[in-house]
């Protein structure tokens, strides 16, 4: 994608929208690899790391956060125009994030409840992923992202091969790691079977259930594959693991609740008595 022998190093921008900065911190947490990244790329814009902020155009833009204000909706259009390869990083940018829970609620009432002068708050009534506003080249899931996966995608782009982002279930990696399944052995409502791999199955590795922070496995948005079979898993949560409908609804309406397969499943369970 980029000629590695080019004298000019590819220019990188890391841009924030509505988010908690956790994914940007994952970049800073790359430690030694961060130095290698700095040697390979020209980090032209990364306010979280450096006050040296240079304007575009950029070869790669890593976008954190969702679109929640009218101003941001314009800012992302401008960034897209200056960027060759736009990569969303994390659940907020890729799926709308936890703040997309507002999509089911009345934002005006939140404003009145939280702020003494709600008239100063300018906010859209929804939180939407970047892909609803501009074309996105690659999407990294996770809350936060897996720093190894980020490094891998950048490495692939620099070397000039198509980045490979597996859409397998978390279970595959969970079993490779030799974890005991928390769903089967403890009856916890683990979302691993319908969640995308990438994290290394860290939650089941710590004895807790996956809450789907990497979003739906294959077919969530791009590429081949079908949406995961959330219907079967949700039914099992209810009939065998004894979750009541509102609990099933909340399992699917979390960090990635606004993504279609999870959203549709949560809407179904919201309507059940």
């Amino acid at each position: 994608m980029f000629n590695p022998d080019e004298r000019q190093r590819p220019r990188l921008a890391v841009v924030k929208f509505a988010s908690c900065d956790g994914c940007q911190l994952s970049i800073l947490n790359l430690e030694e690899d961060l130095l290698a990244l700095g040697r390979t790329l020209d980090i032209a814009y990364f306010p979280e790391a450096s006050s040296d902020m240079r304007p575009g155009p950029y070869d790669i833009a890593l976008v954190e956060g969702s679109i929640t204000t009218a101003e941001d909706a314009h800012r992302i259009l401008a960034l897209r125009q200056q960027t060759k390869v736009l990569i969303t990083i994390g659940a907020c940018a890729t799926a709308g994030g936890i703040q997309a829970l507002r999509n089911w609620a009345d934002v005006e009432s939140f404003k009145r409840a939280v702020y003494p002068s709600p008239e100063y708050i300018q906010s859209l009534s929804t939180s939407t992923p970047i892909s609803e506003h501009v074309h996105v080249d690659f999407e990294l899931w996770g809350c936060p992202i897996d720093k190894g996966q980020l490094l891998r995608v950048i490495t692939d782009l620099v070397v000039g091969v198509q980045p490979r982002l597996p859409a397998d279930s978390v279970c595959l990696e969970c079993k490779r790691r030799g974890n005991v399944c928390v769903l089967v052995a403890k009856g916890l409502p683990c979302l691993g079977p319908v969640t995308r791999t990438g994290c290394g199955a860290i939650c089941p590795g710590m004895g807790r259930d996956c809450y789907g922070c990497f979003g739906p496995s294959e077919g969530a948005r791009k590429g081949p594959g079908l949406p995961p079979n959330t219907t079967s898993l949700a039914g099992h949560f209810h009939s065998d693991l004894q979750l009541i409908p509102i609990e099933v609804m909340r399992r699917f309406r979390g960090i990635n609740g606004a993504v279609s397969p999870f959203r549709a499943e949560s809407d179904i369970w919201e309507k059940k008595p």
Partner: protein
């Protein structure tokens, strides 16, 4: 290692024949001896003295997993497992039973066919590149507590990874160091059907030592020269006919108590005949394509290759990882996915496991351990699926007949 001969399509080499063949080799001068449970530590010490790292089942996160052990107390003493579709629970019975847990999610598979195996390290050089083959360090590992189905699974993996020109050096080096102490099953789980697959519950071949726990005594069978050597220097007691009989009776009772069975009589053809059966749609509605059944299966051998280059593009590491026919990429050929739907994938899995495996390797790909039933998050049971699929083909082999009576 002896392998069942490959047969013409449709012929089925019974495990019994394969096992009998091996039995003649190993059990010819087999001596039933007794090791009191109180002396089991002596066996562990003898293994350590011979340089083995000892691995046994240990209680972990509500099940058992293989871990390095040193003392008998590391084993799941007094614990029992209860398994049913999508459910695994341990119970502490307060008994002194050592091998009361039948099995956890892992078979012997990960010991030789590693879930993640480094294959190559490739480095850029001045005039090209250099390739270094990675190999696991040879290690002597003694696994205590393997079951008959695990041994049968390992024999199938040996058939796949070690035969002739297809000998896999990575598998071979791990397999070489493996010493297996089997435990004969005297209690079946509700998910077990090894009796109908003729792979258990008695370990007949492929072990170095086999134990039968009868109250506070362990009946020992010797299965190999290495096994005999480990026992040298441990004082064993002769077993009475009565005790040998008692052990055999409990193993037989275990076989008879199995509530699941798999009807292999008309395989593989019967399964090919129902390729368009509506039951495939039914199971596709339940299956999550999560891969758990293939991960826990002692015989599944699919793997993928992963290349990890470094950012400076000076080197790349190549590794082999467990893969599954339930992933989307597994069905991907140039420009097309030949198994896009869950229905395609479940059908692929069951048909390979129970039918085309016979054509491919001359034996069934299922040893009846029941793990795929327990560890399926939604409890899909292959014995039930098969019986429904074949029930209607009993009456007619016309594909696509609706399922009755469910």
């Amino acid at each position: 290692m002896i392998f069942p001969p490959c047969t013409r399509r449709g012929e089925f080499v019974l495990w019994r024949d394969y096992l009998l063949e091996n039995e003649r080799r190993f059990v010819a001068d087999d001596i039933h001896k007794i090791l009191p449970v109180a002396h089991l530590q002596r066996l562990l010490d003898a293994l350590s003295a011979k340089g083995y790292r000892i691995v046994g089942p240990t209680v972990h996160d509500g099940s058992v997993v293989w871990e390095t052990i040193r003392v008998v107390a590391d084993l799941p003493i007094g614990w029992r497992d209860h398994q049913e579709p999508a459910r695994y629970r341990l119970e502490q019975t307060r008994s002194s039973e050592i091998f009361g847990v039948v099995h956890g999610p892992q078979s012997l598979k990960p010991f030789a066919f590693a879930p993640r195996e480094s294959l190559l390290q490739i480095e850029r050089t001045k005039d090209g590149f250099a390739t270094h083959q990675m190999a696991a360090q040879p290690e002597k590992v003694a696994v205590i507590g393997a079951r008959a189905c695990d041994l049968a699974g390992l024999a199938i993996q040996d058939r796949i990874f070690l035969k002739d020109a297809y000998r896999d050096p990575y598998y071979a080096v791990r397999r070489e160091g493996l010493f297996v102490i089997a435990v004969n099953c005297t209690r079946a789980l509700s998910t077990c059907f090894c009796a109908s697959m003729e792979t258990g519950p008695r370990a007949k071949a492929g072990f170095d030592l086999a134990l039968t726990e009868v109250d506070d005594r362990l009946l020992i069978d010797v299965g190999s020269e290495a096994g005999r050597q480990v026992l040298e220097g441990i004082s064993l007691f002769p077993a009475s006919e009565e005790l040998i009989g008692e052990g055999a009776t409990s193993i037989d009772a275990c076989a008879r108590s199995q509530v699941r069975r798999l009807d292999r009589a008309r395989l593989p053809q019967a399964l090919y005949d129902v390729h368009e059966h509506p039951r495939w749609d039914d199971v596709a509605g339940r299956c999550l394509a999560c891969t758990n059944c293939t991960m826990v299966c002692p015989t599944c051998f699919c793997h993928t290759i992963e290349e990890t280059p470094d950012l400076s593009h000076q080197q790349t590491a190549r590794a082999r990882l467990w893969d599954s026919c339930f992933t989307q990429e597994h069905g991907y050929i140039h420009g097309k996915n030949i198994r896009p739907t869950i229905k395609d994938r479940y059908r692929m899995w069951l048909t390979h496991k129970l039918a085309s495996w016979i054509d491919q390797f001359g034996m069934s790909g299922c040893v009846g351990c029941g793990r795929c039933i327990t560890w399926c998050p939604v409890g899909i049971d292959l014995t039930e699926e098969l019986s429904v699929l074949l029930a209607s083909s009993n009456r007619s082999s016309v594909a696509g007949r609706p399922v009755e009576g469910r």
